[in-house]
C-alpha cells in the first residue's frame, strides 16, 4: 500500500473567548501557520478537507463558509462533520487516492459563541430521549460512574489526571488553562454532574488547527521531515446509550487493534512512546488507555499514580496538557495530532518528551465515546 505522512501543522492559541477573531480568521491563522511550518505555499496544496459542525458554527452548510479562509478558493474542497481526526482520515485517503498528492485538513470550533448543553442535547434521539434533557456532561457523568464502579477507580485518581494535564499545559503556550493544582483542588471544585467535578471537565474553548498530509511521492519535497502514518483505524459502537456497556469502549478496543495490526505494533505498552488521547473528562483518559491496551484493565489509575503517564514517565500521556487544558471540540483531534507530530519531530518545545519515535493519537466522536479514531505515527517510514 502507498504511504502517507504529515508534513505540516499549525494551530491558533486555544482561548476561552477569541473576541478579535471570527471562525474564518482563526482558520486563516492556522492554515498559514501550517503552510509556513511545512515550507509550502497554497499552490502546493491539491485539495482541502474542512472539519466543522453546523450546530457549533450556528450556520448550515458550515463547511462551505470556512473554505475561503482555508485557502480552498478554486480547489477541490470537501467536509467532515465530527472530530478533526476523522477529517484527517478522509484527507489521508484523498492523498492516497491517486487524484491528489497533498491535502490540507482544518478543524475549528468557537465554543464560546453558543450553549454547549443545548448542542450536545440535540445529539440525543428526538423521539425517545431528547426531552429528558441529557447533554454531554450528564452523559459522561453516567459513563464515569459506570467505569468507576466496574474498575474501582477512585475520584482521587480521576482528579490526578486533571492535576497532571493542567500541569503539563504550563509548558504549552497554546494551552488555554495552564494550572498548578492539587487533587484536593479538583475534589473541592463544584460538583457539576456527580461524579464529575468542574475540574474533571474540559473547558469551553475557541481554536482552530490545520495539518497537511502528503502522499509518499511528495512527502520529502518540502521543509519538514515527514511524520509517517503507520496505522490508522476508526470504529463506532451503538448509538443508543442503553445498548452499550458504558463502562467500556468496545469500538475503541477494536479501532486500536486494527491500527496496531496495520502498524505492526505487537506490544503497545512497550512500543508506543507518547500518546495524546481525548481527555474531555478526566475518567476518559484512563478508560481509553485501558481499552487501547496501554494499561491493563482497571489499572490505568494505578499507572497514573506511579507517575508513569507523566511527562518524564515511560508513557507520557497528554504532554501538551490535553483537552482538559483547552477543548475546541471539532478541532480537538487535530490539536492532539499536531502535538504528537511535534513530539516525533523533536520540536514540542517545553513539553517535549525524551523518547518519541512512535506516537499514538486518539480522537472521539459521539456521546460518551461512541466512535473512536486511532492513529499510529512514526519517525520512520
Amino acid at each position: 500500500m502507498d504511504r502517507a505522512a504529515i508534513i505540516g501543522v499549525g494551530m491558533t492559541k486555544i482561548e476561552k473567548r477569541k473576541i478579535s477573531q471570527t471562525f474564518a480568521d482563526m482558520a486563516w491563522e492556522a492554515v498559514n501557520k501550517a503552510l509556513t511550518d511545512a515550507g509550502m505555499t497554497l499552490d502546493d496544496i491539491d485539495n482541502v478537507v474542512t472539519t466543522s459542525s453546523d450546530f457549533w458554527d450556528g450556520r448550515t452548510i458550515s463547511c462551505m463558509a470556512v473554505g475561503d479562509a482555508s485557502g480552498a478558493a478554486h480547489k477541490n474542497i470537501s467536509c467532515v462533520e465530527g472530530d478533526g481526526t476523522y477529517g484527517a482520515f478522509y484527507g489521508m485517503t484523498r492523498a492516497l487516492s491517486g487524484s491528489y498528492r497533498t491535502t490540507l485538513v482544518t478543524g475549528h470550533t468557537k465554543g464560546s459563541e453558543s450553549v454547549s448543553s443545548l448542542i450536545t442535547n440535540a445529539a440525543f434521539d428526538p423521539i425517545y430521549e431528547r426531552s429528558l434533557g441529557m447533554d454531554m456532561i450528564t452523559a459522561c457523568a453516567m459513563q464515569a460512574r459506570s467505569y468507576m464502579h466496574r474498575t474501582k477507580t477512585t475520584a482521587e485518581q480521576l482528579a490526578l489526571v486533571s492535576v497532571k494535564n493542567h500541569g503539563n499545559a504550563l509548558k504549552n503556550p497554546l494551552a488555554q488553562l495552564p494550572m498548578k493544582i492539587t487533587v484536593e483542588d479538583v475534589l473541592k471544585s463544584e460538583m457539576v454532574a456527580d461524579p464529575l467535578h468542574k475540574l474533571d471537565c474540559s473547558p469551553v474553548s475557541d481554536g482552530c488547527a490545520a495539518v497537511i498530509i502528503a502522499h509518499e511521492s511528495v512527502a520529502e519535497k518540502f521543509r519538514q521531515k515527514p511524520v509517517w502514518v503507520r496505522g490508522v483505524s476508526f470504529c463506532a459502537d451503538s448509538f443508543f446509550f442503553g445498548d452499550r456497556d458504558l463502562s467500556r469502549a468496545r469500538s475503541l478496543a477494536q479501532a486500536a487493534r486494527k491500527a496496531y495490526a496495520m502498524a505492526g505494533v505487537h506490544d503497545p505498552k512497550k512500543e508506543i512512546d507518547v500518546a495524546e488521547v481525548s481527555d474531555a473528562f478526566t475518567y476518559q483518559e484512563l478508560l481509553w488507555l485501558e481499552e487501547m491496551g496501554l494499561a491493563d484493565d482497571a489499572a490505568a489509575g494505578k499507572r497514573l499514580e506511579r507517575g508513569e503517564f507523566n511527562l518524564d514517565g515511560p508513557l507520557p500521556v497528554n504532554a501538551s496538557g490535553g483537552l482538559l487544558s483547552g477543548h475546541p471540540v471539532i478541532a480537538a483531534g487535530l490539536y492532539s495530532m499536531a502535538a504528537v507530530v511535534r513530539q516525533i519531530r523533536g520540536d514540542a518545545g517545553g513539553f517535549q518528551v525524551q523518547k518519541a519515535k512512535t506516537g499514538l493519537v486518539q480522537g472521539v466522536n459521539g456521546l460518551g465515546g461512541q466512535s473512536h479514531c486511532v492513529w499510529i505515527l512514526d519517525k520512520d517510514k
Binding site: 428526538p126 423521539i127 425517545y128 429528558l132 456532561i137 453516567m142 460512574r145 445498548d243
Partner: protein, 155 residues
C-alpha cells in the same frame, strides 16, 4: 493580529437558529407511545434472530440488521445500571425539573438494553448502582417518553 485592529471595540451580534421540526415517530415508536399512554405498559421489540429485547423499541435489530421483530411487554421494574446527578441547571434540562436532577440508565426486567430516564422520590446520596427501581407513570399522558414521570426505588 496586525496593528491596524488595535483599540477597536469588538462588536457582538446576538442571534439564534430557531427552526421548528416535526419528528414523525414512525410505526414502531408510535405503537410504543400509544401503549404507554393508554395502557400504562412498557413494550419492547424482540429480535427473532438473536433473541435480544430492545428498549427503546426498534423496528430493525441493529446487531442482526433484520426486520424479524415481535412485540413483547417488559416489566415496569428493573435495575439501575448507572446514573448522573446534575448539580447545575444545565440549559438542556426541562424547566419543570429542579436540580439536583438524577438521570439514570434503567434495565427493565425482560429487556436486554437500558432506558434513559429520571430517578425521583429519593435523595441523590441514597441512590446506588444495582438499585431496584419501578416506573411511576404521569397523571396526564400525551404519548411521549415523559408519560413515565420517573423511576423510584422499590421499597
Amino acid at each position: 493580529m496586525s496593528d491596524q485592529f488595535q483599540g477597536i471595540e469588538p462588536m457582538v451580534y446576538q442571534s439564534q437558529i430557531n427552526v421548528p421540526y416535526s419528528w414523525w415517530a414512525g410505526d414502531t415508536a408510535t405503537r410504543f407511545f400509544v401503549t404507554l399512554r393508554d395502557e400504562k405498559k412498557i413494550t419492547a421489540t424482540k429480535c427473532g434472530d438473536c433473541g435480544k429485547v430492545l428498549l427503546p423499541p426498534r423496528k430493525i435489530c441493529p446487531r442482526c440488521f433484520t426486520e424479524n421483530m415481535e412485540w413483547v411487554k417488559v416489566s415496569d421494574e428493573g435495575t439501575l445500571l448507572t446514573f448522573a446527578v446534575a448539580g447545575r441547571p444545565f440549559a438542556a434540562i426541562p424547566a419543570d425539573k429542579k436540580v439536583p436532577v438524577i438521570l439514570g440508565l434503567i434495565q427493565l426486567d425482560g429487556a436486554d438494553t437500558a432506558l434513559l430516564h429520571y430517578l425521583d422520590g429519593v435523595r441523590p446520596e441514597e441512590v446506588s448502582i444495582g438499585m431496584r427501581v419501578r416506573a411511576v407513570y404521569s397523571e396526564v399522558r400525551k404519548g411521549t417518553i415523559r408519560d413515565i414521570s420517573h423511576f423510584k426505588p422499590v421499597k
